[in-house]
């Protein structure tokens, strides 16, 4: 079995801490950098890739592309500047897709 790596994509402040615990970091702030980082993790042997919501927001198409593949697993995380609620929105989308209605989050806004 292969030994996939863990990576994190985002702005420096958000990802630097991860470096200390042995996660491979891809600093990326602009859309182009994020896209390039995503391309990079698709090429390499990565099992799990965390990406700050701010970064994910800048390259939605590339994010979808990664999501369509079995690996790496792309997980949006809040950045050091806080959460955009993107990760939760994704769960909500899954529920809507499966159930046909949003039964999990009730009416608590979008």
């Amino acid at each position: 079995m292969s030994m996939p790596k863990i990576a994190v994509i985002g702005d420096r402040d958000s990802i630097l801490g991860f470096k200390a615990v042995g996660v491979i970091t891809f600093p990326a702030t602009g859309p182009e950098e994020v896209k390039e980082a995503l391309r990079e993790v698709m090429r390499g042997d990565y099992g799990v890739v965390f990406i700050t919501e701010q970064a994910a927001d800048q390259a939605r198409e590339a994010v979808e592309e990664v999501n369509a593949r079995p690996t790496p697993i792309l997980v949006p995380i809040p950045s050091s500047r806080g959460s955009l609620g993107l990760g939760m929105a994704q769960i909500r989308r899954s529920v809507e897709k499966a159930v046909g209605a949003d039964i999990l989050f009730g009416k608590e806004g979008r």
């Binding site: 079995m1 863990i6 615990v21 995380i77 990760g87 994704q90 529920v95």
Partner: protein, 212 residues
């Protein structure tokens, strides 16, 4: 809506078999959908809880990290964490949830020498950095768990949608179509039978009238 076929007995038998098959498939798919849904709801609940927990703790770690950056110079922080001491080795396996292949993650810590998770000495760094890094180290397994659950939820949602489409296609299109075609052929055959019967009776009448 009927399927255009020749109203023959052979066609009728064929259609009846297809109808029975469609009904069986429909029942099976419905069961599959219900079970998928049950599993999905359990997973999605777990997903939500995990994400809430992780996001909150991550925010805490970031706060401390920012504090650390405020009291230490950027270079000092970068230097301190330049060489990670600990590494998580991840293994990517597969789990099978109702024949949906979701990734399964297992991991173990690989640390070099000592017990300390900090890749630096304590002399030149601030306590906030220690705090933030130890929180992150604790959080990483939870993050991986989140990754696994979240992917499974996404895959299951797609599978449920697919299954529901198939159930609906069978229920609202295939089965009514087959049933009405079966009815059409039966009626046509009965009609033909009655027609030939009356024809025979008529012929007999004519023959009898001429014979006398």
């Amino acid at each position: 809506m009927e399927i255009r076929v020749n109203p023959t007995r052979m066609e009728l038998n064929r259609l009846k078999r297809r109808l029975a098959m469609a009904q069986r498939g429909h029942k099976l798919l419905k069961d599959k959908r219900d079970e998928l849904m049950r599993q999905f709801l359990v997973l999605v609940k777990k997903n939500k809880e995990l994400r809430e927990e992780v996001e909150e703790r991550l925010a805490g770690a970031f706060r401390k990290f920012m504090l650390a950056r405020a009291v230490m110079s950027a270079e000092a922080v970068e230097e301190a964490i330049m060489y990670p001491k600990e590494r998580l080795e991840v293994k990517l396996g597969r789990q099978n949830i109702m024949s949906v292949h979701a990734p399964k993650l297992t991991w173990e810590k690989v640390s070099r020498e000592t017990e300390s998770i900090y890749p630096y000495g304590f002399a030149e760094t601030s306590a906030e950095l220690d705090d933030s890094i130890s929180t992150l180290a604790e959080l990483l397994p939870r993050l991986l768990e989140l990754a696994e659950v979240e992917k499974a939820v996404m895959l299951l949602a797609a599978e449920i949608e697919r299954t529901r489409r198939r159930v609906n296609a069978l229920e609202y299109v295939m089965i009514p179509q087959l049933a009405s075609t079966v009815r059409y052929i039966t009626m046509k055959l009965d009609e033909n039978e009655r027609a030939s019967l009356t024809r025979l009776m008529k012929v007999k009448d004519i023959v009898r009238a001429k014979g006398v």
